[in-house]
């Protein structure tokens, strides 16, 4: 039952990703060239709603679907935020997609993105293998 809920949320998120055009390589290029407010508007609104949601969760003491307290501590800072962040930025500009949109692109018929997705999974796997040797 709970999984059906997650599935529905995923469907909703997928539709939003496609219809807002954030999965478009062209929109990402526009963003990195500062030639349109499109992506900044979407992310700005998302952060505003996120902040409001965090406020409400704290204020009303809202519980998760498992009836547990929702973890609202941010991820701890590591050097990986910088090094990994820059590498991710390279990939983001090249593919025009981050992990969520990769799945949405696949679903909306851009089957070629199975290659990008497999390569991304491969990248995540390699990170797991070499992580002890990387600065964090």
């Amino acid at each position: 039952m709970k999984n059906v809920l997650f599935l529905c949320l995923g469907v909703y998120f997928g539709i939003v990703l496609v219809k807002s055009e954030v999965i478009s390589w062209f929109r990402i290029q526009e963003m990195f060239r500062f030639q349109s407010i499109h992506m900044y508007g979407i992310m700005g609104v998302a952060v505003a709603i996120g902040t409001l949601s965090v406020f409400l969760i704290k204020r009303l003491n809202i519980k998760s679907v498992d009836n547990e307290a929702i973890n609202l501590t941010g991820k701890p800072f590591t050097k990986g935020n910088i090094f990994g962040g820059i590498l991710f930025g390279f990939g983001w500009a090249l593919t025009g997609a981050c992990p969520g949109p990769l799945y949405a692109l696949l679903g909306s018929g851009y089957l070629i993105f199975i290659l990008v997705l497999l390569s991304a999974i491969c990248g995540a796997y390699v990170y797991g293998v070499v992580r002890d040797k990387l600065p964090h």
Binding site: G10, G80, G85, I86, G91, L115
Partner: protein
């Protein structure tokens, strides 16, 4: 909820030595995103080209992009481009860096830029700035070399 990306990719890699079944919710979410993409791409399909800014289009034409009719340029993302150096770079190297970088940075656009900033988490702000540094360097400095 927006820790999506992090969970999405990690969930696939079971060697990560944790009980991935506990994280199975993320696989349902992932499946949902694919179905959502399918619904949006068929039932709700947009018959027009994406209305990108004229300046971006002009810049991309200068770089050699000729196809503007779908969500992604067919000059770069197509099966017959896989064996070209450019296609390999954009699809395979790009995908690898996306996956590797997401894990190394412990999150992506949704996890850090949206959720992290909603929490006013300093590490997430630094990560978001780093995403942009990477993206800007790639777009402005490396694109002219690889196109």
């Amino acid at each position: 909820m927006r820790h999506l990306c992090a969970a999405l990719v990690a969930g696939k890699v079971e060697y990560f030595n944790y009980d991935w079944k506990k994280e199975s919710w993320s696989l349902f979410l992932t499946a949902g995103v694919i179905i959502g993409g399918l619904i949006a791409g068929t039932l709700m399909a947009n018959p027009h080209d994406i209305a990108i800014s004229g300046a971006t289009k002009a810049d991309l034409i200068k770089l050699g992009v000729t196809s503007f009719s779908s969500y992604v340029p067919k000059d770069l993302f197509a099966w017959d481009k896989l064996m070209t150096l450019r296609g390999f770079f954009f699809m395979i190297v790009g995908g690898f860096l996306t996956g590797f970088g997401t894990r190394y940075a412990n999150g992506c656009t949704s996890g850090h830029a949206i959720m992290g900033m909603s929490l006013l988490n300093p590490g997430s702000l630094i990560a978001t700035v780093s995403f942009f540094i990477g993206g800007l360097v790639m777009t402005w400095l490396i694109f002219p070399l690889i196109f």
